[in-house]
């Protein structure tokens, strides 16, 4: 029987997958096609959404950028088996490479199963690992397997998972809590969302195994409220798992019992910091607590608690099923297994990428991502969002591994990977992230509340052409002080985008400050448009398009721009057919 799956992660939905699904459903019914139609999560190739996967017994036909108008042709194909009608929709070979070059463990079922179907999950080994853990293994043995696997926290810090589990297991006190941090807030990061939307049972199973390992009575997913689809699918998955007995009393007939619930956040980035998350869970204002004590000793309601990120949990069942050694076989000495990245920015093929540790940034950016759009020059990649840093093009061969990435000044982070090309102003990029952290600072500690604000003010004046001699040094000093004095990870890492851009793109800062010039041409206040008299044919098109009448001249002779009147909208450069408008 034919199986049709429509990618309906948030990426697919926003590209119009819902309408495509509805049209397909009508067509299947009307033409009485013998096919099952279902949704699946994000396949990873967000740049090709909506994606329709058609499975026959032996092969997969992947149709991309499908619109409702394409449905009759798809129906023809389904009826006849002749794929000529859908030839134009079939995924191009180079785009297929995007998936083929990946190794999917955390994302193993994403885009493959129907996330709203427990049966589908179970058919893909769902809850096998949980059964194995609770019926065949002691909690200590589970922790041991995780230790062997080398799994480290995928939320960004990279702390060994077994160590945290063990600490919580050893900690006195009852009840204990197992918490999943699904408050994914980095701009440009959507790994966790994709996992929950695409394979919620993998998360539930991983958490239950963790709960068993530490001896928790309840598992809680703290998920950001901005992920409604993820919450909806997770709610259904929890209900299904409860009904099936995977959650609740005497799981698999053992003495292990565990409750499970969701807590939706209220939109504060800082609640991704584990102690702020706990405060928020307790109904308090989301502000970090002092550490120590660590949550393993005193966490939720001051009870032993363990917090891991979504992707970390998504790996757990696979590790239990395949053994810690199998996981540890991938990666480098320092970093084991795979890592999921959300690839965005000026890249040709953006989406979700899961690769073994030890690959290089070049593998991700060029082999998988296909390089820059419009073949512009690659400039750098921002890793780890606002807490991370920028790795410049000359370090493109850096190996993806916790230590190696840290050495560049960036961090592995939770997986946000924003690609920048020559048209990206690095000062502006740093400013963008500081705008974010300044807004998202909880306001508790001085270093973060006022320090980031002052950083942002200095960056803003540099972008506005008001930078002063000494501003770079002032930024560096402020950054050092903030890192040293801030209370939590948010503040301690907030200076990273500034520090790394200064480290690798100091000349760009200097150009802004000394020459009042933005080399990337992104800072409007510093951009100057002029007309090259040798190229201008005097067609007057720019003059007619200029919204403020700043361009004048006689037809047939070179035109000129009045710099005072110009509002730097750039329309003249866009419309000029002769490339006569210079920007810089």
């Amino acid at each position: 029987m034919l199986k049709i799956m429509v990618g309906q992660g948030s990426c697919g939905v926003s590209a119009g997958a819902g309408k495509v699904y509805d049209a397909l459903q009508s067509a299947v019914e009307e033409r009485k096609i013998d096919a099952s139609l279902s949704v699946t999560g994000c396949i990873g190739m967000c740049f090709l959404e909506p994606i329709v996967d058609i499975y026959t017994d032996d092969r997969l036909t992947r149709l991309v950028r499908v619109q409702p108008k394409d449905v009759p042709a798809i129906a023809d194909y389904l009826q006849t088996g002749d794929d000529a009608s859908v030839a134009s929709l079939k995924i191009a070979a180079q785009d297929s490479a995007f998936l083929e070059k990946q190794t999917r463990i955390a994302l193993r079922n994403c885009g493959v199963i129907d996330p709203e179907s427990l049966a589908d999950a179970v058919a893909h080994r769902g809850y096998d690992a949980l059964r194995k853990a609770v019926t065949e293994m002691t909690p200590e043995q589970v922790i041991d397997v995780i230790k062997v696997s080398g799994l480290a926290g995928r939320g960004g810090a990279g702390f060994p998972t077994w160590f945290k589990w063990n600490a919580a297991r050893q900690s006195e006190g009852s009840p204990k809590y197992l918490i999943c941090n699904a408050d994914e807030g980095d701009p440009g990061a959507f790994m966790d969302r994709a996992v929950i939307e695409g394979d919620p049972h993998a998360l539930i199973e991983g958490m239950l195994i963790g709960a068993y390992a530490i001896g928790a009575d309840e598992a809680i997913v703290y998920v950001r409220a901005e992920y409604p689809l993820a919450i909806k699918r997770l709610e259904k998955a929890i209900a299904d798992a409860k009904a099936a007995g995977y959650i609740g009393e005497h799981i698999f007939g053992t003495d292990f019992s565990c409750g499970f619930r969701i807590k939706a956040g209220a939109g504060a980035f800082v609640c991704g910091e584990e102690t702020a998350l706990i405060e928020s869970l307790e109904g308090q204002r989301g502000m970090p607590r002092l550490k120590p004590p660590f949550p393993a000793q005193s966490g939720y309601w001051h009870k032993p608690s363990n917090i891991n990120n979504v992707e970390t949990f998504a790996n757990v069942a696979w590790i239990i099923n395949n053994g810690g050694e199998a996981f540890a076989a991938m990666g480098t000495d320092d970093s084991k297994g795979t890592k999921v990245f959300a690839l965005t920015g000026k890249i040709k093929r953006g989406g979700l990428v899961e690769i073994p540790m030890g690959k290089t940034l070049r593998d991700v950016v060029f082999d998988i991502g296909g390089g820059m759009r419009a073949d512009k020059a690659f400039k750098g990649v921002q890793l780890g969002g606002p807490s991370g840093g920028c790795v410049p093009s000359e370090l493109i061969d850096t190996v993806i591994d916790y230590k190696k990435l840290s050495a560049t000044g960036a961090i592995m982070g939770s997986g946000g990977m924003v690609i920048m090309d020559e048209s990206t102003c690095m000062v502006r990029m740093a400013k963008f992230f500081l705008e974010f952290t300044t807004k998202e600072s909880c306001g508790k500690c001085v270093a973060c509340r006022i320090g980031t604000k002052r950083l942002l003010e200095i960056l803003t004046r540099i972008c506005d052409g008001d930078g002063r001699e000494g501003d770079i040094e002032l930024l560096e000093d402020l950054c050092a002080r903030i890192k040293e004095n801030a209370l939590c990870g948010l503040g301690q890492t907030a200076p990273n985008p500034v520090l790394t851009t200064i480290r690798y793109f100091r000349d760009e800062y200097e150009a802004h400050i000394r020459d009042k010039r933005c080399p990337a041409g992104e800072c409007t206040a510093l951009v100057r448009f002029s007309i090259d008299p040798d190229k201008c044919r005097g067609c007057s098109l720019c003059s007619r398009k200029c919204p403020v009448g700043a361009i004048s001249g006689d037809v047939g002779k070179p035109f000129t721009i009045d710099g005072e009147a110009c509002i730097r909208c750039g329309q003249c450069a866009e419309v000029c057919k002769f490339g006569a408008v210079r920007k810089g």
Binding site: P292, T438, G443, K444, C445, V446, K453, E484, L487
Partner: protein, 684 residues
């Protein structure tokens, strides 16, 4: 064991680094911690360098870090101090308030005007006098004659008119002088001896403050009585000498020994004073009238301004005739012209080369002189004083105003060929004063002919010899400037006598900008007008012209004060640490938070602009009073403390217990004083 600042200490399990340090007398600063409240860690000021084992030292918050065996802690390393300074720089860059009221900052003596005004408003005259005498030993005198720079900066001017701070000073001090006046206590005798040369405002002030510190002080003055220019330069109708006498007598009462009729260079020399005393303060003033360098200046009937005033004060005025020309536009010129009127001159001119707007004299004085019949010849400049042996007339060059000069005033320029001649019997030149260097020859002089003294240490080129007041550097200035200098010098000299070298340093303060719009809601209340003798009456008498405020007027006037200065200045930990760690927020100047004042509560006044978000008030309300009337709202830079739903505190469940006020490290919270004005506690 723990190694704390290089010394081994035993610790109690569970003890924090802060507690361990406190138990052993080591101070670690903190703004957000209170021992009754759970550690919170917001301010980050208590960071210390902490090392465990081989790991590199980290900055840890002392308030929250538990001690552990083998810890190595540094509480004052360069790294720690840098981090603390950063925290303070950041806090101050977002702190809006006036540590000290603008009036007080404008006063060269730093007199706490806000406080004495508040005390007068409350009827506490003795305490008001005590406040004044913290700086000025002769407030009743100064209150009468001071050109009051304080009032020029008084914010009440943005509402309608400044508070009459000078007149209030005179009032408060007069009230205190009436019976059993305030006499400060002096510290036990130190055995050190100080000689002060010159008994004017500077000398008296230096002597007064040094005596209070327990030193034996002798003042040497060449004139028959002490008081300097206050006695011999300021006419009786402005400052009755009986008032000055009383105040000087009180200085004598605390043990300052006075030696009038003792001229430096003849009766005593600098050298033998240096030998006989541990320190010498030169405060001889500027007693020579400047010359105008015009022809005829040496004729009979031409007098120097201060020479003329001194002769009048000594009761032996020169014969000035019926028509007098006074040259100059300053306060001395006003004193001279009005004294001439009182001595019986029928026509008195004031010759001034610019216009009334540019005159340095007080506008009120000009007004009063006009009322007394003085004629102002603006835009004229003496060109020649004519006469055979004696003055018969003065030829004036007519002037016009040109482009502004360095002082910002328009430069007077002669109109070529235009002159005016006035027949006069005498000419008084009140154009400036110079230093008399007699007896001071061993001191280094400036190119202005004054004594060269360091502006921060008041030291001269001779060890142990200090110089203050008009005799130094820029020369003659107003009395309160000399008093301010002497007050600061007293600290330096006191330290010197103790073998410590210090220099005066202008303390860091927060200041804010206030516009008329900010005060638009204030009720307009007229400034009290000083009652004076009518012109016709006062023209014929040297009796004091100002009649003084009555009690009711004074209290009402004092209550007009807007209380600009922070009422918690004395207890503010932020300013204390800011100075201790030499904070400087200037490089980080940027946007400040928009947190507002909340005066809605009956007893608690909340000034959000001074809040540093340490969270102590919120936690005290929760943990000590179990009320949670206030909480934090907003995020990041716009976070603020307030009642639920950002409603006014007055509408919340706050019971006014004041625990929040108690724990607030700054002036963001204040418990209102009932009835009268709020009086800040002493600044020291």
């Amino acid at each position: 064991m723990i190694l704390l600042n290089g010394k081994e200490f035993a610790f109690v399990p569970g003890q924090t680094i802060l507690e361990l340090a406190q138990a052993n007398g080591i101070e670690i600063p903190t703004l957000c911690h209170d021992e009754r409240i759970e550690p919170y860690g917001a301010c980050g000021l208590c960071v210390c360098e902490v090392r465990m084992g081989q790991a590199p030292a980290r900055l840890m918050r002392a308030c929250a870090t538990k001690t552990a065996d083998g810890m190595v802690i540094e509480t004052q390393s360069a790294r720690v101090e840098r981090s603390r300074r950063f925290v303070l720089d950041m806090l101050l860059s977002d702190h809006t308030g006036d540590c000290i009221a603008p009036c007080s900052l404008a006063c060269p003596g730093g007199t706490d005007c806000q406080k004495y005004a508040a005390l007068i408003a409350c009827g506490e005259y003795r305490k008001a006098a005590e406040t004044m005498k913290d700086v000025i030993p002769i407030p009743a005198s100064i209150g009468r004659i001071c050109p009051h720079p304080c009032e020029k900066k008084c914010r009440r001017a943005l509402v309608e008119a400044p508070v009459s701070l000078a007149a209030l000073k005179a009032f408060g001090a007069d009230m205190d002088l009436k019976e059993n006046p305030f006499v400060p206590e002096c510290k036990p005798d130190t055995g050190k001896r100080v000689a002060v040369i010159g008994g004017g405002p500077a000398g008296l002030t230096a002597a007064y403050h040094l005596r209070r510190r327990g030193h034996e002080v002798h003042i040497y003055d060449k004139m028959p009585k002490l008081g300097g220019m206050l006695r011999y330069g300021i006419p009786e109708y402005r400052l009755p000498k009986a008032v000055l006498d009383k105040e000087i007598a009180l200085i004598g009462d605390i043990g300052v020994q006075m030696h009038p009729n003792t001229t430096l260079g003849t009766d005593v020399t600098l050298e033998n004073l240096r030998e006989g005393f541990d320190a010498v303060v030169v405060a001889t003033g500027a007693w020579i009238s400047s010359k105008m360098r015009v022809q005829g200046e040496d004729l009979d009937g031409v007098f120097g301004g201060i020479d003329f005033l001194r002769a009048a004060a000594l009761g032996d005025p020169p014969a000035i005739g019926k028509t007098v020309a006074v040259c100059g536009g300053g306060n001395t010129a006003m004193d001279a012209c009005r004294t001439a009127v009182r001595l019986g001159a029928e026509t008195v001119y004031v010759i001034y080369r610019r216009t009334r707007d540019e005159m340095p004299a007080e506008q009120l004085e000009i007004e009063e002189a006009i009322e007394e019949g003085v004629q102002f010849k603006f835009l004229t400049n003496p060109d020649e004083i004519c006469g055979d042996d004696r003055v018969s007339s003065i030829r004036l060059q007519c002037m016009q105003l040109g482009a502004p000069d360095a002082s910002g005033r328009r430069r007077p320029e002669p109109i070529e060929g235009r002159f005016e001649t006035l027949p006069v019997d005498s000419v008084i030149m009140a154009i400036g004063q110079k230093t008399d260097f007699a007896g001071l020859e061993s001191l280094e002089a400036t190119n202005r002919g004054t004594v060269n003294a360091d502006t921060a240490t008041f030291k001269t080129n001779l060890d142990g010899v200090f110089a203050v007041g008009d005799v130094t550097n820029k020369g003659a200035d107003i009395a309160i400037a000399a008093i301010g200098e002497a007050r600061k010098a007293a600290d330096v000299i006191d330290a010197y006598l103790d073998g410590v070298e210090i220099a005066y340093e202008k303390p860091f303060v927060c200041e804010k900008t206030v516009t008329a719009d900010d005060l638009a809601d204030r009720e307009k209340r007229d400034r009290a007008v000083m009652p004076v003798l009518p012109p016709e009456e006062r023209k014929h008498t040297f009796a004091e012209m100002a009649l003084g405020f009555d009690e009711e007027t004074a209290k009402k006037e004092a209550s007009r004060c807007l209380e600009c200065g922070c009422l918690d200045y004395a207890q503010c930990k932020l300013i204390r640490y800011a100075r201790q760690y030499k904070a400087d927020p200037a490089p980080y100047a940027g946007e400040k938070s928009a947190r507002q004042k909340d005066d809605s509560h009956a007893v608690i006044l909340r000034d959000g602009a001074k809040c540093i978000l340490c969270g102590l008030c919120v936690r005290a309300c929760d943990q000590l009073e179990h009320l949670s009337a206030i909480g934090l709202a907003g995020r990041g830079f716009t976070t603020e403390v307030g009642a639920a739903y950002r409603l006014p505190l007055g509408t919340s469940c706050c019971n006014g217990c004041g625990k929040c006020v108690e724990v607030c490290p700054t002036g963001a919270l204040y418990k209102k004083t009932e009835g009268c004005k709020n009086v800040a506690v002493d600044r020291k």
